[in-house]
Amino acid sequence: MKPVPFRYVVARSLEEALAALAEGGDDAKPLAGGQSLVPALNLRLLRPELLVDLNRAGLDGIVRENGSVRVGATTRQAELERSPHAHPLVREALPFVGHVVTRNRGTVGGSVAHADGAAELPLCLVALGGEVVAEGPDGRRTFPAEELFVTHYTTTLLPGELLVETVWPAPGGGERSAFEELALRGGDYALAMAAAVLRHDQGVIREARVAVGAVTDHPTALAEVEALLVGNAPSDELAHEAGALAATLVDPAGGIHATPAYLRHLTGVLVERAIRRAT
């Protein structure tokens, strides 16, 4: 279980990284924390000709500004976990991301750009209505995270473009959030997961973001569930109804460990639990 031969370059800056990726074209891959990429290399599921190491490109750091938190692409997941600026939802979700040791190395941007449908950070970013900042040959652009994810391992990043930053809204007044996940064993890939971010005002849910992952090919906000919640007083019945609705909105493929029926049902359970706890 060894990687195919490739060339490796260290990017000392974003410019160097972009230049190297441009030169490598389709056969180049950016390397961040490597916690998903290197297993795929070792298993020879990926066969790049060039690896561009971003770890020394100065793309890390957590900055709080104007009601949001900007997290550099190569910021380690462990660093975000320990940061006082991390949104409570993220702090709740991060312990589910791999293990302590993989979070020491795994990066926030890497996880988001990798776009694994069962990854926690993309789900949180979508649930919070966060943004991503990408830079490529044609310059820098910022866009809603929801527009990033297409399907498993597929994003709208353009060829040669790098995700350089994620932008996480800070918690607003009256906001409560919750993250729920079930995996077969601790630290494993989720069977299903759900995040709820609700803004309450005078006993009524004013805004709602409810998103699910692992049962969908990319993190998916459930607009119908959100619509059901908004304008209503939170209650166990409402949460239950929302969960039941959520279960009808997903169409998981199932796998060796779980049937589609179970995963649909579990989605409902987790959505219901998340909404209850975000109340």
Binding site: M1, R44, L182, L184, G186, I256, A261, L266, V269
Partner: protein
């Protein structure tokens, strides 16, 4: 403390939890595992090309690989056919089993070719260039369907007492089918082999993290066409776990040996994890239909098993031993005298099975203990009462089971009582019932199992009829050898053929020898690396059937005792009863002329020990399948989360009687490890192939083993009734919980759900699916 004083007061290191001799090196990263050794400089690296299909005619073209950078050469199935013979096994099978697929591949992952290059990296590069042409054949995957076809390669029936008569008078007959899934104990260290072929001598020297049994040395030698003395097999001092799995490495020793032979240079192969999950070994998968008759008071009157054993693509030696290892214990811990069994072995296009912790025990006790629980539920009795009604009473020890085992000692009822008290059984049952009345799903399950250890080498001949056996060499016993040496400076060295993989054999041997010689364990050097040319061994050597504490310790103790007798005789002769061991040793080595009249020079003893109570099977197919029998009573309490199907183990109590504990902390370690494997099989682990036979669990992401947050910690209790049949009264303890835990957890979950049709592994999704179906075979 003078040595003589220590002996006179019968000081004993045995029985104490002394620090392990193994640990210092391991903690410093200075263990020597297979891939740490570089025994023959210049070995080239192998990568194995494996079949991608479960069943196909194959044609292999390696020409492109031969031209790849760094490549030394390629071994194909054709070469394997030309250079070796099929492996012999316990039963004749229509499909010849070679070290690599010849013409037809019979499971996905079966070796097809070996590519040898300067580095593993280059070998893997070149392996991708080997072209394998597949002409797919229909795979056989379902063992039950296979049992009606020529994929069924063995079918024998056994009758003890009169089952039909007893079933006819039973008040209740439980008739159920149980499936035990295929799982693997997956040691964290994978297989590794270094092979060096000596063309001039026509001999193979191989290093491998093999674990025995050394019967398999003979099987490998036969395939290689070598006399045993021309096949030198060595093991590293440390092995990263095995739990049976590394016994099956012998086919790879042959394969890499053939590569070394063909290419004329030493070859090294270190298995990776994907290869391990595809191509090492697993437990058998067994489908057992039980008919059990009970009297109204819970007495078990008769038991009939119909077992279909799926051994995978080939009958790999020592299979079908999984099916016969427990033969003497078909009646479990119970007094039932009417027992029958039909044993069928089927081949399917899946990974061949082999030794795996518990070996036959989990597959037997799941159906038996589930049957006991089902009967209790159907009769409205407390499962503990049903168990008590049937347990072999202490006063009947030693007890001969209907199928021939001799249960040596123990008070099973007292052991069960201890477990019930430790768990607070009555209270837990009441709590569970109250919680269920509230709509929660709590349940309590028990399991009572006899843990056999020290297998009779003759049990496998039960695959033959008594008439066939009468015409063959009888097989019996289980023997081990050991070498104990005292050097001229009084240093003591032990050499062992028990190939430990973490059990602490070196420590225990040092305790035993220290006791005999009146020294401290730390003064004893114990070498655990096996070498078939220099270590005393027997065909039954190795690390399996929990035989160490009974048999190997017997050999070590005997050798040490003989040395002590010699040392004492020298002291007496010199009229210096307090003379230190060092001085005695110096005297024996330096002054043989001064030895007592007739005494042999030298201070080195090889001794052997064999279990005294293991005869060949008799004409009625009864066999004392094991020498010693421990007993375990487990109580498990679970809660099932109805929304998600998650099973939470609330409490687990296990009480063992494993005879005398030579090292209590190591014994507890074996209990914890056996528990972890049993709980893994109960709750998580299973090899899965899809409907076309493609393995779906070929990585540690998909083959789900429990980690720390997933595993409850059992509460352990002990009783100690020494075995009269082992040297120090010890019995095996390392496999029992792998046998009992799947049954106890299944019983607890069945109790929680109020239904009989629970099936392992009890993962959340599978339990939830079960809850969506009406119960089969009755609910509460």
């Amino acid at each position: 403390m003078g040595t003589a004083t220590a002996r006179e007061t019968r000081a004993s290191w045995v029985g104490q939890s002394v620090p392990r001799l193994e640990d210092e090196a391991l903690l410093r990263g200075r263990g020597r595992f297979m891939d740490d050794l570089d025994p023959v400089p210049g070995a080239a690296h192998a990568a194995i090309v494996r079949s991608q299909l479960p069943h196909a005619r194959i044609t292999v073209d390696a020409s492109a690989a031969l031209d790849a950078p760094g490549v030394v050469g390629v071994l194909t199935g054709e070469d394997v056919r030309a250079l070796s013979r099929p492996f012999p096994a316990g039963i004749d099978s229509p499909v010849p089993f070679y070290a690599a697929a010849v013409d037809v591949a019979r499971y996905a992952g079966e070796p097809v070719a070996v590519v040898v290059a300067r580095t593993r990296y280059e070998a893997e590069d070149a392996a991708e260039l080997v072209e394998v042409d597949y002409d797919p054949l229909d795979p056989v995957l379902d063992p039950v369907a296979a049992s009606e076809t020529d994929a069924c390669v063995h079918d024998r029936s056994f009758h003890y007492g009169d089952v039909d008569e007893a079933l006819a008078r039973a008040d209740l007959v439980v008739h159920e089918t149980f499936r035990f899934p295929r799982f693997s104990c997956t040691p964290v260290e994978c297989y590794g082999v270094v092979a060096d072929w000596d063309e001039a001598a026509g001999s193979l020297t191989a290093w491998a993290n093999f674990q025995g049994p050394f019967t398999l040395h003979g099987v490998a030698a036969a395939a290689l066409g070598l006399r045993g003395s021309r096949f030198r097999l060595l093991t590293p001092p440390d092995s990263g776990g095995s739990f049976g799995i590394k016994s099956s490495i012998f086919t790879y020793v042959v394969l890499i040996g053939l590569a070394a032979r063909k290419l004329g240079r030493p070859v090294r192969w270190i298995e990776d994890r994907v290869e391990h999950l595809l191509g090492s070994a697993s437990s058998t998968q067994r489908v057992t239909t039980v008919e059990a008759g009970f009297a109204h008071d819970g007495e078990l009157l008769a038991l009939r098993y119909d077992a279909i054993e799926d051994v995978g693509a080939y009958v790999r030696a020592p299979e079908p031993a999984t099916l016969y290892r427990m033969h003497g214990s078909l009646s479990g811990a119970y007094t039932v005298r009417n027992v029958a069994a039909r044993n069928r072995v089927v081949l399917t296009n899946t990974l061949p099975s082999g030794l795996n912790r518990g070996f036959g025990g989990p597959q037997l006790y799941l159906p038996l203990e589930r049957t006991m629980a089902i009967a209790a539920r159907r009769m409205g009795l407390d499962p503990a009462d049903v168990a008590r009604r049937n347990l072999v009473p202490a006063e009947e020890m030693p007890y001969r089971t209907p199928s021939g085992a001799l249960y040596d000692s123990g008070d099973y009822a007292a052991c069960l009582q201890q477990a019930l008290e430790l768990s607070g059984y009555e209270r837990r049952r009441a709590e569970a019932a109250a919680a269920r009345a509230d709509g929660r799903l709590l349940g309590v399950g028990i399991a009572c199992v006899v843990e056999p250890s020290i297998s009779n080498m003759g049990y496998i001949t039960l695959t033959q009829t008594a008439i066939e056996r009468a015409q063959a060499l009888p097989k019996s016993g289980n023997a081990e050898g050991a070498l104990v040496t005292i050097d001229p400076l009084g240093g003591v060295t032990v050499r062992l053929g028990t190939t430990p993989q973490g059990q602490g054999h070196r420590t225990v041997c040092a305790q035993v020898v220290a006791d005999e010689l009146g020294i401290e364990p730390g003064e004893v050097t114990v070498l655990s690396e096996m070498d078939t040319q220099t270590v005393p061994w027997t065909v039954s050597s190795g690390n399996y059937s929990s035989r160490f504490s009974g048999v190997a310790v017997g050999a070590v103790q005997r050798a040490a005792a003989q040395l002590r007798a010699k040392v004492d005789a020298v002291r007496e002769h010199l009229e210096e009863p307090e003379l230190s061991l060092r001085r005695v040793a110096g005297s024996v080595h330096w002054n043989p002329a001064g030895l007592p009249e007739g005494m042999e020079p030298g201070l080195s003893v090889v001794a052997y020990w064999s279990a005294p109570n293991l005869d060949p099977p008799d004409a009625e197919d009864r066999v004392a399948s094991s020498a010693a029998h421990g007993f375990i009573a487990d109580v498990c309490a679970v809660e099932v989360e109805p929304e998600t199907g998650e099973v939470r183990v609330l409490d687990y109590v296990t009480v063992h009687d494993a005879g005398r504990l030579l090292h209590p902390a190591l014994a507890d370690g074996q209990v914890l490890g056996g528990f972890a494997h049993g709980a893994g099989a109960a709750l998580f682990e299973r090899h899965v192939v899809d409907e076309w036979g493609n393995p779906m669990t070929a990585s540690f992401v998909d083959y789900v083993t429990p980690t720390a947050p997933d595993l409850p910690t059992p509460r352990i209790g002990h009783r100690s009734t020494p075995s009269p049949f082992t040297a120090l009264g010890a019995k095996g303890i390392g496999e029992g919980n792998t046998m009992s835990v799947p049954a106890a957890i299944a019983n607890a979950v069945a109790d929680a759900l109020g239904r009989d049709d629970v099936e392992l592994p009890l993962t959340a999704p599978r339990v939830w699916e079960l809850l969506q179906r009406p119960p089969e075979g009755g609910g509460r």
